[in-house]
C-alpha cells in the first residue's frame, strides 16, 4: 500500500533549512538581553538566558543532523547538494558562536565598561540586524525554488544579499571603533578582562560575519 510517486519525491530541504536558521537566529537574538542582564548584575537572569541559548543551540544541532541524514547522495536537486550542506553549516555557526558568547559572559561574569556601553549596544544591534537579514534571505528559498532560481525573484534575493553585505561592512567599522576606544582604556582595566573584552567584541562581530557568509552561500546557489 505504498505510493511510488510520493516515495520518489524526497523531502524538500527548503523548509528544514528555514526552520534551522530560525532556531539559530533565535539563539543569537537572546544576546542583547544577556548583556543587559549582566551589566545589571542580574546573574540569575544571565544563567537563565544562557541555558535558553544552549537549548536552542542543541536543537539547531539536532536539526542539522536530521537535515543531513535526509539528504542522501541519491537525491536529485535543482541545486548541488554540497552547496546546501555548506549553507546549513554556516547557519549552524550562528547558533554555535551565540552559545560560546553566552557561556563566556556567564562564566567570567563579564560586564561592558560604561564608557563603551553605547557603542557596544549599537554594534550588537547592528549584528542582530545582519542575522535577521540573513534569516529573511533564507526565507526566500521557497520562492527561489518555485521560480527555478530565475527571473524577478533572483533580483529580489540579490538585493537582500547586497544589503546584508553593507550591514556587515558597517559592523566591521563599528568593531574597529570600539576596539580603538578599548585600547585607550586598557590601562584602567584589569588586563585579563581587557583580553576577554577584545575576544567578546570579535565574537559578536562573528555573528555578522556568519550572516554575511550565509548571504554568500545563497549567492552561490543563485549563480548556478
Amino acid at each position: 500500500m505504498t505510493n511510488f510517486i510520493s516515495q520518489m519525491l524526497g523531502r524538500s530541504p527548503v523548509e528544514p533549512l528555514q526552520e534551522h536558521i530560525k532556531v539559530a537566529c533565535k539563539a543569537a537574538f537572546l544576546l542583547p538581553d544577556l548583556f543587559a542582564a549582566a551589566n545589571l548584575n542580574d546573574w540569575v537572569k544571565v544563567n537563565k538566558i544562557t541555558q535558553e541559548i544552549r537549548d536552542l543551540e542543541n536543537l539547531a544541532d539536532d536539526m542539522k543532523m536530521d537535515i543531513r541524514s535526509n539528504m542522501p547522495k541519491s537525491l536529485f536537486m535543482p541545486v548541488p547538494r554540497q552547496d546546501l550542506l555548506e549553507l546549513l553549516l554556516v547557519q549552524d555557526k550562528v547558533a554555535n558562536i551565540s552559545k560560546q558568547i553566552a557561556g563566556m559572559v556567564r562564566l567570567r561574569k563579564m560586564q561592558i565598561p560604561d564608557a563603551l556601553i553605547d557603542s557596544f549596544n549599537a554594534f550588537v544591534n547592528r549584528c542582530m540586524q545582519a542575522a535577521k537579514k540573513a534569516k529573511h534571505s533564507v526565507y526566500e528559498l521557497d520562492e527561489l525554488y518555485a521560480t527555478g532560481f530565475r527571473g524577478v525573484e533572483v533580483q529580489t534575493v540579490e538585493k537582500m544579499i547586497a544589503k546584508l553585505g553593507s550591514i556587515e561592512t558597517e559592523t566591521d567599522n563599528q568593531q574597529t571603533d570600539i576596539q580603538e576606544k578599548l585600547f585607550l582604556m586598557e590601562q584602567e582595566l584589569p588586563p585579563i578582562e581587557v583580553m576577554f573584552l577584545y575576544r567578546l567584541i570579535d565574537m559578536v562581530g562573528g555573528i555578522a560575519d556568519y550572516a554575511e557568509r550565509i548571504g554568500r552561500r545563497l549567492e552561490i546557489l543563485l549563480a548556478k
Binding site: 524538500s12 518555485a146 530565475r150
Partner: protein
C-alpha cells in the same frame, strides 16, 4: 465446447479480480500527484477517478484490449486446440492478479501491464511454443515501455519550461497565470478528445471525418477552458498566506488546472489499464463462445464496461484507503509542477492507447515527474527510488511468466 460456461465464468471472476486490483492500487498512483499537491480533496479525487476511469475504459480502451487479446499470439498456431488459448488467458489473469497482490502487500513497485504481458508471453512460449508468439509485436511493446517514460519526461520538461517563462519568472505571475492557464486547459481537453475520437471511438460505432474530429476537439477544448477560466477568475489573492509564500495564490490558479489534468490522467489510465483485465477475458469469451480462435471477432462493449465497473469498485472499496494514505503524506509537488507531469503523462498514455500499446501508466508518470525535475522544478527527487521503480519490471515479467506457466499446466490437467 464442453466447459464453455465454466470458462467464461472463471474468466469473468479472474478478470474482475484483476480490475478490482487495478482500481485498488494503480488508480491511487495516478491520483497521487493531485492529492499530494492538495489541488483536490480525497473525495474529489475518488469521484474524478471513478467517472474518468470509466469513460476512458469504455471510450478509448478498445485498442489496447485487442493487442492483449489477439495481438501477441498468432491465431493459426492454436486453431486446432482453442482450449489452449483459454487455459493460457485464464492463467495469465490469475498469475497477474496474484503477483500484483503479493507485490502490493510487500510494497514493491510493479506494473499491472508488465505482469499481464509477461504472463501471456510466458504461457504461450512454454505451453504452445515460441513460434506461436508474434515476436515483432512483443518487441514493439517492450520498446514502448522504454520510450513512453522518456517521451513523457521530455514533454513534461518543455511544458514546465513554458510555465517558467510565461508565468513564474515574470513580475506579475498571478495575472499571467490567470491569462495563460486556460490555454493549458484547452490543450489538455483538445489532445485527449482528439486522440479518443480518432483512435478509440470506432468500436462503439462512431465514425467521424477529420474535420468533424478536429472541430469537436476544439469545441471541447474551448468549453473546458471557459469553465476553467470562470473558476480561476473567482480566485482572490490571499494577502495573509502570500506573506509566507509569495506564490500561494498563483498555485491556487494552477490547482484549478490540475483538476482538469487529473481528470485527463484518470481517463488515460482507464484507456490503457482496463485492457490488462479485459484483454484476456475478451479472448476467453470469444474463443469459448465460437469454439475457434477468431482473430477478427470484434470486441463487445459490455466486456470493457465490466472492466471499468471492476476498477471503480476497486477504487471505492480499497483505493479510497490508499488515496487517503497518500493524501496525508506531504509531498512537495505543487500544482504548477503536478499539472505539468500529469498533462505530459496523460497525453503520452492516451496516444499509446490509441496505437494499442499496453504501457505502464505509473512508469510514464514517473518519467514525467523526472522531466519536471530536470527543468529544476522539484526540490528533491530520490533517484534510488526511481531506479527501483524502473528495475521492478525486469523482475515482474519473469514472475508473471512463471506463475502463468504453472497455472497453465494446472488448468490443462483439470480441464484437458
Amino acid at each position: 465446447m464442453e466447459y464453455q460456461m465454466t470458462y467464461i465464468v472463471l474468466a469473468a471472476i479472474f478478470g474482475g479480480f484483476m480490475a478490482w486490483g487495478i482500481g485498488a492500487n494503480d488508480v491511487a498512483n495516478a491520483m497521487a500527484t493531485s492529492v499530494g499537491s492538495k489541488a483536490i480533496t480525497i473525495k474529489q479525487a475518488i469521484i474524478i477517478a471513478a467517472i474518468f476511469e470509466f469513460a476512458g475504459a469504455v471510450l478509448a480502451g478498445g485498442a489496447v484490449t485487442s493487442t492483449i487479446r489477439k495481438g501477441i499470439i498468432t491465431a493459426d498456431s492454436i486453431n486446432s486446440q482453442p482450449e489452449l488459448l483459454i487455459f493460457g488467458m485464464l492463467s495469465s489473469l490469475l498469475a497477474a492478479g496474484i503477483w500484483l497482490l503479493i507485490a502490493s502487500r510487500r510494497g514493491w513497485p510493479v506494473s499491472t501491464t508488465h505482469s499481464v504481458i509477461g504472463a501471456v508471453v510466458g504461457f504461450a512460449a512454454v505451453g504452445i511454443g515460441t513460434e506461436a508468439i508474434q515476436w515483432s509485436k512483443v518487441v514493439d511493446i517492450v520498446l514502448s515501455w522504454v520510450v513512453t517514460p522518456v517521451i513523457a519526461g521530455i514533454l513534461a520538461y518543455f511544458i514546465f519550461q513554458s510555465v517558467h517563462h510565461l508565468i513564474l519568472k515574470q513580475k506579475d505571475p498571478l495575472s499571467r497565470a490567470k491569462r495563460y492557464v486556460p490555454f493549458y486547459m484547452f490543450i489538455t481537453a483538445f489532445v485527449l478528445t482528439l486522440v479518443t475520437i480518432k483512435k478509440g471511438l470506432k468500436h462503439i460505432g462512431l465514425h467521424l471525418t477529420d474535420v468533424e474530429a478536429y472541430g469537436l476537439a476544439v469545441l471541447f477544448g474551448i468549453v473546458v477552458a471557459v469553465i476553467g477560466a470562470f473558476f480561476i477568475n473567482r480566485i482572490k489573492p490571499n494577502k495573509e498566506k502570500e506573506k509566507r509564500f509569495h506564490f500561494y495564490t498563483v498555485e491556487r490558479v494552477f490547482a484549478v488546472l490540475m483538476v482538469i489534468t487529473a481528470s485527463g490522467l484518470a481517463f488515460a489510465h482507464g484507456s490503457n489499464d482496463v485492457a490488462n483485465a479485459v484483454g484476456p477475458l475478451a479472448a476467453v469469451i470469444s474463443t469459448a463462445k465460437s469454439g475457434v480462435v477468431a482473430a477478427n471477432s470484434s470486441l463487445e462493449t459490455w466486456v470493457l464496461m465490466l472492466g471499468a465497473v471492476g476498477i471503480v469498485i476497486g477504487l471505492a472499496t480499497y483505493g479510497v484507503r490508499v488515496i487517503r494514505t497518500v493524501g496525508q503524506k506531504i509531498t512537495h509537488l505543487t500544482p504548477s509542477r503536478g499539472f505539468a507531469a500529469e498533462l505530459a503523462a496523460s497525453t503520452t498514455i492516451v496516444v499509446a492507447s490509441g496505437t494499442g500499446m499496453p504501457i505502464s501508466t505509473t512508469q510514464t508518470l514517473v518519467g514525467a515527474v523526472l522531466g519536471v525535475g530536470m527543468a529544476r522544478g522539484i526540490s528533491a527527487i530520490d533517484l534510488k527510488v526511481v531506479r527501483n521503480i524502473f528495475a521492478s519490471w525486469v523482475v515482474t515479467i519473469p514472475a508473471g511468466a512463471a506463475l502463468s506457466i504453472i497455472f497453465f499446466f494446472i488448468f490443462r490437467f483439470i480441464f484437458g
